[in-house]
């Protein structure tokens, strides 16, 4: 069954770096797993704890935030704030009995197309090893589906 498991991974990508890097990866014709669903954000500082949790709640097997290199945030410190929130969500996942590694923070620049692909592969491999999110593993009762 795990062979057939194709994880769903949400990536919150900053438009100044990671999102541009994804574009670059595309134009360089670098392939990266289709499991990654990209959500563009104006700055990773915009990504809140609740966004990360919502993704998990809605069945994502993994979530990551990709922002600028430390010190290079377009809005000075948005990426540092994002890191703290990712850390906080890791703790929440641990409290929930889930693997904290399902959530991660990455830093890269707009010039790092290959690195973008690498991160996507790394994250997909990681989540594939962890298996489906326990949120999806259980047959969900009707009430919760409302």
């Amino acid at each position: 069954m795990s062979d057939a498991f194709e994880p769903t991974i949400i990536a919150f990508c900053c438009k100044y770096c990671a999102y541009a890097a994804a574009d670059l990866a595309g134009s360089m014709r670098l392939s990266y797993p289709a499991n990654i669903k990209i959500s563009q954000v104006p700055c990773t500082g915009r990504v809140d704890i609740v966004h990360l949790l919502k993704a998990i709640e809605d069945g994502a097997d993994g979530v990551y935030v990709a922002g600028c290199m430390e010190g290079d945030c377009h809005f000075v410190s948005g990426n540092l704030k994002a890191l703290k929130r990712v850390t906080c969500v890791k703790k929440t996942l641990a409290e929930l009995g889930m693997e904290p590694e399902r959530v991660e923070m990455f830093n890269l620049s707009s010039a790092m197309g290959p690195r973008f692909a690498e991160i996507a592969i790394e994250m997909t491999d990681r989540i594939r090893k962890l298996g489906p999110s326990p949120v999806r593993r259980q047959p969900q009762p009707e009430a919760a589906a409302e």
């Binding site: 809140d48 704890i49 609740v50 949790l53 919502k54 998990i56 709640e57 929440t92 409290e95 929930l96 009995g97 889930m98 326990p134 949120v135 593993r137 259980q138 047959p139 969900q140 009762p141 009707e142 009430a143 919760a144 409302e146």
Partner: protein, 224 residues
């Protein structure tokens, strides 16, 4: 403001373990300012509880709302149309909130999602500190704006004790010795003489020690 810390997830889960449908109620007052019980925190807790229920394969509906204040009957009243639609209501306000809600809706069960800790303020982003003990008789003007009742671990009126250590309190290196600060400020301002008189024993009747307190403002009380 009143400062609070959120209870652990497991403690909240234990409170509502037998519920299938709960309402989380935040408050736009103090707990919003100290980032523990406002809209965002309500959303985070709700999502977390829903994830937990999904992991367990247990049906659970969590709805979210935020009141202007939970310490005012006129806002508490706004829950009236929905309050009975739930197995329980979890308040994210300070300790006043769940009590006002319980008084307004005696048929419903209310649980606190936070531990109310102290009266204080933010000394830095994400760090709050105690400043007031609510003793009912303010004396900070004798101590250049610093309160030994709230901020000395022993509430000494004639400190500092022998445990003052390089400006820190003997109980923790993270806590300033308020008496060290008082003495320094008085010295800098040439008012050390203020501290040479013995401060007599405090009358604690106005504090919680005198029993639960009530504040009455006759000009505001509406008859009938």
């Amino acid at each position: 403001m009143i400062v609070a810390d959120r209870k652990s997830l497991s403690e909240i889960q234990d409170m509502v373990r037998d519920c299938r449908k709960i309402l989380l109620v935040g408050c736009k007052g103090c707990v919003t300012v100290c980032n523990v019980g406002g809209l965002k925190e309500v959303q985070v807790l709700a999502a977390t509880l829903r994830i937990a229920a999904k992991i367990e394969g247990r049906p659970l509906i969590v709805e979210e709302t935020v009141l202007e204040r939970q310490c005012d009957p006129e806002y508490v009243e706004m829950l009236k149309p929905v309050v009975d639609n739930f197995d329980a209501v979890v308040s994210m306000a300070c300790g006043v909130g769940p009590q006002f809600l319980s008084e307004a809706y005696p048929q419903q069960r209310f649980f606190p999602a936070v531990n109310t800790t102290f009266f204080g303020g933010a000394v830095a982003h994400g760090i709050w500190e105690e400043r007031c003990a609510g003793c009912g008789t303010c004396i900070i003007h004798y101590f250049d704006g610093m309160c030994p009742v709230a901020r000395c671990s022993k509430s000494l009126m004639n400190g500092p004790c022998g445990g003052s250590d390089h400006g820190k309190c003997e109980i923790s290196r993270n806590i300033n010795c308020i008496w060290d600060m008082i003495v320094r400020k008085k010295t800098e301002q040439g008012r050390l003489n203020d501290l040479l008189d013995i401060v007599p024993a405090k009358n604690w009747q106005t504090a919680r020690d005198g029993g639960p307190r009530q504040s009455r403002r006759e000009e505001l009380i509406q008859n009938g």
